[in-house]
Symmetry: C2
Subunit: 362 residues, 2 copies
Amino acid sequence: MLSSDADGLSSRGAAVEIADRPRREVTLADVARAAGVSKSTASKALRDKYGVGADTRTRVREVAEKLGFRPSAVARQLTAGRTGTVGILTNDLEGRFVIPILAGAEDALGAGELSVILCDARGDAIRERRHLRTLLERRIDGLIVVGGARTEPRPSLGRDLPLPVVYAYAPSADPEDVSVAADDRLGGLLAAEHLWSIGRRSIAYIGGDPTYDASRERAEGARAALAALGGELITAPMSAGSWTERWGRLATARLLDEQPGIDAFIAASDMLARAALDVLRDRRLRVPDDVAVMGFDNWPIIVTNTRPELTSVDLGLQELGRYAASRIFAALSGEEVAPGLDLRPVRVVVRDSTVRNDVAAD
Amino acid sequence: MLSSDADGLSSRGAAVEIADRPRREVTLADVARAAGVSKSTASKALRDKYGVGADTRTRVREVAEKLGFRPSAVARQLTAGRTGTVGILTNDLEGRFVIPILAGAEDALGAGELSVILCDARGDAIRERRHLRTLLERRIDGLIVVGGARTEPRPSLGRDLPLPVVYAYAPSADPEDVSVAADDRLGGLLAAEHLWSIGRRSIAYIGGDPTYDASRERAEGARAALAALGGELITAPMSAGSWTERWGRLATARLLDEQPGIDAFIAASDMLARAALDVLRDRRLRVPDDVAVMGFDNWPIIVTNTRPELTSVDLGLQELGRYAASRIFAALSGEEVAPGLDLRPVRVVVRDSTVRNDVAAD
């Protein structure tokens, strides 16, 4: 979702610009009038809602930026009489997943206009209940529950909470809750299509911990894409697996030994892809000429440091955070927010491990 | 600071245990009486304050744990009439540094007893002022300002803030502010001493971005340690440098070419150490037999995934967070908190890249 990311940046820039030169606050009505659309349409276009054409969305956003409209003004109107605080409850011990989601939510909420209370439950249910109690005592307006490494459905916090709750990254197990998550299956599908498009026909998959939904769904997506194209996904005949590089090296070595002719690997994480690169280097196989490699997560510190730099599926976590916050807003403004799981798009970011820079237009 | 980490874990465990079986709240006075010390000494011992002997500290903590004393009860007493919220203002885009510091502060504050508002200023001064305004409007009790990758002194938020402020990881440039940071120089010193103790005499340093204080201070510590031991630190004759693995590989290769006989590398980060490991592997040099390698940060996802696993200097970020929170408490309870920079200890965590597991007692 490159376009969403770019929007996030530009609206951030606009807010900063306005802060420097005070003037009459530009309203949503001003933007709607100038763009020639209804206030409802303008609001949808600015809040990434479906049901608005791409042209309209672009026009409204351009007008909003030109007029210096602060998206946070929407927030301020909505939060009259509220505490102006959204809570984020997380189990993410490392911050790898929650920090980009937090940044995205902040974009949607307006920096400095709404506060985010981050509570790290550290995978401990008692700690989570205690954090939840504290958050409710502080009368937050809404709550975003962010999963950690595991993306499978997590226990619901319950249906009787007195505020809008959105589960992000890991959905709630209760289909009556509102959940948003990255589309792992689509990620596997796009990965396989990318490798097929550059001529690879013997594509193998290196999974992580097989008890993780993410590892299975990424494989299923790749398998479905290859089946549609007339190919077949090569997988390891092993039920073991983990998210460590040690496992990634072992799996890569076994696949290369048992399936001669592999010309591409899809790894379920960037760490596992890095492990594959290390094994290929040890064996004097050239990447991407002999074997192409791609990972999942598009984690900057990994993908830009490998030899060569790593093609990866970006899960759009920042966009996920913005979208989760927009669901909270929608609920607060009285819109009906459909329950269930809303899968958000992902994208492939191409680097030298699949397409060498000197031959890519990209 | 192994002992502090262990304490953090045990007090966390104790708090959870108590939550399950309600009974009369154990007070600080109960703990002091049972340990045979004054309330003031008991409070200091529980809050990591200097001026209490190690024996007393251990005894008080054992008594506190036995009685099921919740450290957060101190917090509750202190926060009567307060908002019960400490703000964390950060520039750490990735969350690598702020998340462990946040976890440590939470330990000290008592999970669920006090809230932490995390604001990500993203290195943007206007955004930072706006966050600060919001935090003050929400009447937080104290503020911890957490630096990002850069550890050099940062601009002060000012002396006229109406609440206790502690700068953590990156100190304030104003010596009248209260700052706590990891002792990078000590880290370099301990690293060099460790390598010397295992018989290495040609120790080279791979720095990161040379404009970072952390990169320079780590080198200075190593240089001072080796000078005292009769050795000399080998450094690259280059003024360039960055925190990327590409740079780490280049620096390692040049040092090996220009200084034959190097038998150990200290790298200024785990990523740079990993780059050194990759180059040594390419050159068929054995680690640690031919060349020992160690890094800085003790970042789990790197140090446990390299071949071999990486010895590293742990900067004690979680302890730093606990200590910063304890400074806020001290100020709130009317204690005089000395201004200036308080450098906190660091430690070497030994793994296979310096001492092979089959020969180490560790």
